[in-house]
């Protein structure tokens, strides 16, 4: 009696489970390596509040609040108003940005750009006329976060497979569709996958801490002896 009940219960989810993954996998090809540049644009009337992770380039002309992480290049255009922490390879700012920035390669603040926030960069260019306030960390200070951001895309690749197409779909649909309210609806969709991406990132950080802890004790012991 009971076994038959278990059999039916277990058989149902097993039957259901296989169906969603194939639906999610086809849009993302089996080779997730970013050989083909993926470019996402947020138009001047687009608005995002939350976390964005993009495997590729991002161009922002609208409003963003929260967190932006881009594996490729990030451009903040003239009309953009961004209150977010930004991370990318090449970051160029022509609009208003309020938040911390990590640029693994180079940060450019153009003459129309305004930036308030701390900055970790390998190279920094500020054009005459730009506004900038914050702490600048270059060279050795910027190398530590650069390594962390480079490892991130490698590890969570399997899991972001679902969120990334979602973000693309939002961005692409929001491009032609002008009115604001419609853009707001998919925001919930972008919010949902982002914790998954973050959860995938967390183990990396703990690993780094663990290695540091492993490295420290041997140093202390010789001193005490």
């Amino acid at each position: 009696m009971a076994t038959s009940g278990w059999a039916t219960l277990s058989s149902r989810p097993v039957a259901r489970r296989p169906t969603p993954p194939p639906a999610a996998e086809p849009p993302r090809e089996s080779s997730p390596t970013p050989n083909q540049p993926n470019s996402v644009t947020l138009g001047p009337r687009d608005r995002v509040i939350g976390q964005i992770y993009i495997e590729g380039d991002l161009r922002v002309s609208g409003t963003v609040e929260g967190e932006i992480e881009v594996s490729g290049d990030l451009e903040i255009e003239d009309m953009a108003k961004v209150k977010a922490s930004l991370a990318g390879r090449d970051v160029s700012i022509r609009g208003q940005v309020n938040g911390a920035i990590v640029a693994r390669k180079r940060l450019i603040v153009a003459r129309s750009g305004s930036l308030i926030g701390d900055v970790h960069v390998a190279r920094l260019v500020i054009q005459d006329g730009a506004t900038f306030s914050g702490k600048v960390s270059m060279g050795a200070a910027a190398q530590a976060p650069a390594k962390a951001t480079e490892t991130k895309p490698v590890v969570p690749e399997p899991k972001p497979v679902v969120p990334t197409p979602g973000v693309e779909a939002v961005a692409q649909s929001s491009g032609p569709i002008v009115p604001g309210p419609i853009v707001q609806a998919p925001i919930n969709a972008t919010m949902a996958p982002s914790p998954a991406a973050k959860a995938a990132i967390v183990p990396v950080r703990t690993d780094r801490k663990a290695t540091k802890k492993d490295a420290l004790p041997p140093k202390d012991k010789p001193k005490r002896r």
Partner: protein, 137 residues
């Protein structure tokens, strides 16, 4: 989408007896490769350190220029400050700070306008347009 056209307001000229008002034949001095300066300096003209050694505290009414390959450890204050060498210490530019491609600056920076060329290195806090309320923002 329509941006408000910035109306060019004629900013009221308000000179609180600033010493950097352009005078005829403003004084200037240059520290060459064999020169060295150590201590506290207050000077009305322009100052150039090109190959020389300079340590201390320099407050200059005119412009400051630190040439390529020069290392300066000092608190600097000037109108237009151009740095192509290395600077260690706090820096205040009343008008504009320019960091050339070979510049290396470690220290906090306060300026009204800022330009940094690719290749320059900067470590420290940057504050802009704080001490002059007429900053065109």
């Amino acid at each position: 989408m329509d941006t408000q056209e910035a109306v060019a307001e004629s900013t009221p000229v308000e000179n609180d007896g600033q010493p950097d008002a352009k005078r005829d034949g403003q004084k200037r001095f240059t520290l060459g490769p064999n020169d060295s300066l150590e201590g506290k300096l207050t000077y009305g003209g322009h100052m150039t350190v090109d190959g020389g050694r300079a340590e201390g505290e320099f407050r200059v009414g005119g412009n400051i220029e630190i040439g390529n390959g020069t290392v300066v450890k000092a608190l600097l204050e000037g109108s237009n400050v151009t740095i192509k060498g290395e600077l260690e210490g706090r820096l205040t530019a009343r008008d504009k700070l320019f960091l050339g491609k070979s510049a290396k600056v470690s220290g906090d920076v306060q300026t009204r306008r800022l330009q940094i060329e690719d290749g320059a290195s900067l470590n420290g806090y940057v504050r802009m347009g704080d001490f002059e309320q007429q900053a065109g923002s």
